[in-house]
């Protein structure tokens, strides 16, 4: 991790972990997990909210 370059001379892809495929795939997987996790969280929140309405806790 950290900088993949030690000089700007001739630098091309210089983003963090640019030379580490394993690290790049880790961050990609983390983004995918966050997206999916957020959707799952939303589903659960909706179900709890509706249950609260049905139980008379809201409205």
């Amino acid at each position: 991790m950290g900088s993949p370059i030690s000089t700007w001379e001739g630098a091309q892809a210089y983003f963090t972990a640019a030379l580490s495929p394993g690290a790049l795939m880790f961050w990609v997987a983390l983004v995918a997990a966050a997206v999916i996790g957020a959707i799952v969280h939303t589903v659960r929140h909706e179900e709890k909210s509706v249950a609260a309405v049905r139980n008379g806790d809201r409205g």
């Binding site: 630098a11 091309q12 892809a13 210089y14 983003f15 640019a18 495929p21 790049l24 795939m25 990609v28 983004v31 995918a32 966050a34 997206v35 957020a38 959707i39 939303t42 589903v43 929140h45 909706e46 909210s49 509706v50 309405v53 049905r54 809201r58 409205g59």
Partner: protein
């Protein structure tokens, strides 16, 4: 300064101008989303105003990472149809060297950003139609599907230098009326069939009941913001070539001046067409402005401006009757007329190019023709409708497409969100749940349809 240094300086200036151009196109396109946000808030009743806003914001937020993960890859991979070109798409893999800061690549980031904004636009088109009863989670899933998969697949087929619709049939759609507007509009129709109308939209004997939003001024302003954002959108539809003339996505020459003539004439014709057809409804008139631009979008660089005006006049005039057909005859509750505006005007625009602008040459592809436009329109409609219908049917089968009736009657803001839109000035308009349920059981009660 040596000739080589001068040449290098000119080339780098051109490259940076290209980046600047698409950077500001992206920024202007965000106004489309500001517009859709205001539009949908205004079109919602007070009890759902914030839920509509949240839904729209989330569409934008979820499209960005998913378009990074797989949307851009799909565009590069699929121009041949359903067989991926893995070599061509390697640069679009999320771990590719071009998918991040890279001093040897000034183009990928800004192009990806512009395409991401197109993607978010397709999700916003869906967003308005389904307000006040779709579950936010289901909407996010459908938004990601239309924004990061379906539209970009269609773009790869018909809005790409090597897309098969163009290479085989001569399909031409310079400003994305097909892959953005038709796809999103037809996708929306597929979703609406499974989602069903809002509670109270139809009486027991099937008559449509008007459900006005709580702020027509906000809706009208939102539509005007979308028009402003449209200029960024259309700017993103032309390719900047350093030291050479602009070209379309098909590499045919074009100018921004041509776009300027026909965008404004299209807006004007659309507003006037909708003004006549709707007898002055501000909602349909502003929607008509959008419809007018969409109607001329496929040939934005080709039309004589007065012809563009007339095509837009027709497109703007069509949307109200299409909206009425859906609402009154087919009993489909499209809360903002999204199908009429985007699928209606988009389809008309694609076909109109075949009628009024056939015979224009492509580079290494057949010339424009009515047959090519008919075929392309059929593919766009089928892809959009089929994917929207099947995906929403799946969500419906799992029972996660639509909000519970209690939540819908109480209002999605009070049910799901920790905030109220106007806490000091407007009382909650929702009746207590029990009273509304009792009303639903009355002889003139509301019908409950959908998931």
């Amino acid at each position: 300064m040596s000739p080589d240094e001068l040449k290098q300086m000119v080339e780098m200036s051109g490259t940076i101008n290209m980046e600047i151009f698409y950077w500001w196109c992206t920024a202007v396109m965000i106004l489309i989303h500001a517009g859709f946000l205001a539009y949908e808030i205004g079109a919602s009743r007070v009890k759902n105003a914030l839920a509509s806003a949240v839904k729209n914001i989330l569409a934008f937020a979820f499209i960005i990472p998913t378009f990074f993960l797989f949307g851009w890859w799909i565009y590069l991979a699929m121009p041949n149809g359903l067989t991926p070109d893995f070599a061509a798409a390697a640069a679009g893999q999320p771990w590719a060297a071009s998918m991040g800061p890279n001093l040897a690549d000034n183009a990928t980031g800004v192009f990806w950003a512009v395409f991401t904004m197109f993607a978010a636009t397709t999700a916003s088109i869906l967003s308005g139609a389904v307000i006040e009863r779709i579950r936010i989670s289901a909407f996010i899933i459908l938004a990601v599907l239309v924004g990061s998969v379906v539209w970009i697949l269609a773009a790869s087929w018909g809005w790409h230098p090597s897309g098969w619709l163009t290479m085989k049939w001569g399909f031409h759609d310079t400003a994305a009326a097909g892959c953005v507007h038709m796809i999103a509009g037809w996708f929306t129709l597929g979703v609406l069939l499974n989602l069903g109308p809002r509670l109270g939209k139809y009486t027991a004997d099937g008559k449509a009941v008007a459900i006005p939003g709580h702020s027509m001024p906000m809706t009208t302003i939102g539509l005007m913001l979308i028009i402003v954002g449209f200029f960024g959108f259309l700017g993103g539809c032309i390719i900047y070539k350093t030291g050479a003339q602009w070209v379309t996505i098909y590499n045919t020459p074009a100018t921004l001046s041509a776009f300027a003539f026909n965008t404004l004439m299209g807006f004007s014709g659309g507003v006037i067409g909708a003004f006549i057809a709707s007898r002055g409804s501000p909602f349909w008139m502003m929607s008509g402005g959008l419809a007018g631009i969409i109607s001329v979008a496929p040939g934005l660089e080709l039309y004589y401006p007065p012809l563009a005006f007339v095509l837009a006049l027709v497109g703007g005039g069509l949307i109200k009757p299409i909206g009425d057909l859906l609402e009154n005859r087919l009993r489909i509750d499209d809360a903002v007329g999204a199908f009429a505006v985007h699928a209606g005007a988009g389809t008309w625009g694609i076909l109109a190019l075949g009628v009024f602008a056939s015979g224009y040459p492509h580079i290494d592809a057949p010339a424009t023709s009515l047959a090519g436009q008919l075929g392309g329109a059929a593919v766009m409609a089928a892809l959009g409708f089929g994917s929207g219908f099947l995906a929403s049917l799946g969500l419906k089968k799992f029972g996660i497409l639509r909000s519970a009736p209690e939540a819908e009657m109480l209002g999605l803001d009070a049910t799901e969100l920790p905030a109220l839109p106007y806490p000091e000035s407007v009382p909650a308009t929702a009746l207590p749940v029990a009273a509304q349920l009792a009303a639903a059981d009355s002889p003139a009660g509301i019908s409950v349809q959908g998931a």
